[in-house]
């Protein structure tokens, strides 16, 4: 077998162009599997990191019951609104440490001569920064004790800051007009790299009571709840559900989301995507295998006389079968190794050239791709090898 391996290597070496072209299919196949799966795995890690950056051990209550699986309903069918009073009540749940009510709206911002239409404004409270792990860089966040009423202060995100104050000046203490009403800027948020769907830095935070007035509503968009620890997320969900049902006349017209579940769902979607990409790439591996079979058939034809000689000097059918099988597997594994190396290098190069581009090279990807290329070598090598083994030595020796 070792002889067969060296013989195969020598064959590859003696015919470098042909060997390379034969391997090319497998190289491209393995290379695309490794690269695409690395990108898919990178995307998964990226999403996980993004959610982790939004704070861990978080559950979210939204108005409206769950009708089908999936995200929160777009149009709520809630009989009862999710109110600020609900939020105060939820603070009494033993597993809950922080409760941040959210009112979401869009408003025009005006500062001096600058006008910014339809900017995102979030009404919330002091707990938000702890629940969401988003902190101020300069100044302070919204004050504690939102029950005190709508104090006209605001905290702005980095994008808003750069838009309104391109000269890099820190506008702490200045008055920002939101829908014509003046709010004193008391804090500037840290830059947050969350990148799923929207710019989380393009937000103005105002106290919850101010938002109620500004948007003329007493209904919360959602409530973000921070749980003591990961182990208590389940009991927190139970506590919150019981508390809310009691407050809502025993109707389940709200939904409690576990952020972990959302992450899991996203992860599943990305897994399917990764496997689909890998599967498509694996088709080219299959095409590569057909290329190997093609060349192996040519090789068997060329070596007809050699097969005759080998049989005459004592080679069994098994010996001949083995010889050609080792050759095809050597070609496919060589192609697979080159392909995996190129794939890893490209993934690393992508990561190097675009540091934000998520790439995650997993050992199992390389092992699976190499395993597949061995399989391709065996599968597509068997037919030519059997053909060689079955040659009649008399015919083979007579072959010109």
């Amino acid at each position: 077998m070792i002889d067969g391996f060296f013989d195969a290597l020598e064959n590859i070496w003696l015919n470098p162009l042909r060997s390379f072209l034969t391997m090319l299919g497998v190289i491209i196949g393995v290379f695309s599997v490794v690269t695409l799966v690395s990108i898919g795995e990178g995307a998964k890690k990226y999403v996980n990191d993004q959610f982790a950056a939004l704070g861990s051990n978080v559950i979210i209550v939204t108005p409206g019951g769950t009708r089908t699986s999936g995200g929160p309903p777009v149009i709520t069918d809630a009989q009862h609104k999710l109110t600020l009073e609900d939020c105060y009540a939820l603070r009494r749940c033993p597993s809950v440490t922080h409760v941040a009510p959210i009112i979401l709206g869009a408003a025009s911002l005006k500062l001096g001569g600058k006008l910014r239409e339809r900017s995102t404004v979030i009404g919330t409270n002091y707990d938000f920064q702890i629940a969401r792990s988003m902190y101020v860089e300069h100044g302070q966040f919204l004050p504690e004790g939102d029950a005190a009423g709508g104090r006209n202060v605001c905290v702005i995100g980095q994008t808003v800051l750069k838009d309104l104050f391109p000269d890099g000046r820190l506008p702490l203490g200045e008055w920002l007009r939101i829908n014509q009403r003046p709010y004193r800027i008391i804090g500037i948020m840290q830059h947050n790299s969350f990148g799923l769907g929207f710019d989380i830095n393009d937000i103005v935070f105002i106290p919850i009571n101010a938002a109620k007035e500004l948007f003329d509503t007493d209904e919360m968009f959602e409530v973000v709840i921070k749980v003591q620890s990961a182990e208590r997320v389940k009991s927190a969900i139970d506590e919150v559900t019981v508390m809310m049902k009691r407050r809502h006349d025993d109707t389940l017209d709200f939904t409690v989301h576990d952020q972990g579940q959302i992450m899991e769902a996203m992860g599943n979607v990305l897994n399917i995507l990764t496997y689909a990409l890998g599967g498509i790439a694996a088709i080219s591996l299959l095409v590569g295998g057909i290329g190997i079979m093609n060349i192996m058939l040519v090789s068997v034809g060329e070596k007809t006389r050699e097969i005759g000689v080998r049989k005459a000097v004592g080679a069994t059918r098994g010996d001949i079968l083995w010889q050609f099988l080792v050759e095809s597997v050597t070609i496919s594994v060589a192609g697979g190794s080159i392909g995996a190396s190129v794939g890893v290098l490209l993934a690393l190069a992508l990561h190097w050239a675009f540091p934000k581009f998520p790439v995650e090279i997993k050992m199992w990807t390389i092992m699976v791709a190499l395993g597949f290329s061995i399989g391709v070598g065996v599968f597509f090598g068997v037919y030519p090898a059997r053909k060689a083994a079955k040659l009649d030595p008399i015919e083979a020796l007579r072959y010109e």
């Binding site: 000689v309 000097v313 004592g314 059918r317 008399i394």
Partner: protein, 247 residues
């Protein structure tokens, strides 16, 4: 996947010298189907060749001598009849066992040499040892020894394309000898050589037969070559018409 070299299909130890003739064929018949016709290759042949004989098998083309050669070489199996090679009933053996018999008992020499062009002289010579399960080092050692015996020690690393016709045939003879076979089976061994080189090869067969006692069977239609052999078997239409021993 090479067979175990320590035993033989007949169970005799490797070094045991059987008393039986090298070749003992009884009513050996081979028929082919060619298209709609049945062709008789050899027809009820009986032939005994003893150890150490030097035999020429002659006959016109189409006489069945190639068929006989293939049968003697265990490359083909008879339609009916029996063939004992060194006492082994080869007509009962499986494909893999026949490969083992070819490996251990028979040294083939072909008209067109049939060396593997990718391999050097010593690699070609050592090929049968690979199927006898010998190690790489042992194969090279023995191949070089046999190459020395046929006078090609200086050509061991040459490929067939770098060798003359006579040298190629000597490499082929070395390959045939390497497993110390019971017989050398040569098919028109001088057919692709000029007269002078052919005579050298014939001389080499004679010397090998005389000095090592190896049985040599040469299939040819060259009367000059046949005349050098001590026994001549003539075949016509698949039957032996003459079996003459030189005085």
């Amino acid at each position: 996947m090479a067979s175990d070299p320590s035993t033989r299909p007949d169970g005799l130890p490797r070094d045991g010298v059987p008393a039986a003739p090298v070749i003992d064929i009884r009513s050996l018949t081979k028929r082919y189907v060619l298209g709609a016709e049945q062709v008789v290759g050899v027809d009820g042949l009986n032939l005994k060749i003893e150890r150490g004989e030097h035999v020429a098998i002659v006959g016109p083309s189409g006489s069945g001598k190639s068929t006989l050669l293939n049968l003697l070489g265990c490359l083909d199996t008879p339609t009916s009849g029996e063939y004992f090679l060194d006492g082994i009933a080869t007509h009962t053996l499986s494909d893999a066992d026949l490969a083992f018999v070819r490996n251990q008992k028979i040294g083939f020499i072909f008209q067109s040499f049939n060396l593997l062009p990718r391999f050097t002289a010593w690699q070609n010579v050592s090929l049968p040892l690979a199927y006898a399960g010998e190690s790489r080092g042992e194969r090279k050692r023995r191949a070089l020894a046999v190459l020395d015996k046929v006078g090609l020690a200086s050509r061991q690393e040459h490929r067939p394309s770098q060798l003359s016709g006579g040298e190629r045939q000597r490499v082929a003879i070395a390959r045939a000898l390497i497993n110390s076979p019971s017989m050398l089976l040569a098919d028109e061994p001088t057919g692709n050589l000029d007269t002078k080189t052919g005579a050298e090869i014939v001389g080499m067969f004679e010397a090998l037969n005389r000095e090592t006692g190896v049985t040599v069977i040469i299939v040819t239609h060259d009367p000059a070559l046949a005349a050098k052999c001590r026994r001549m078997v003539r075949i016509v239409d698949g039957r032996i018409v003459e079996d003459r021993k030189a005085a």
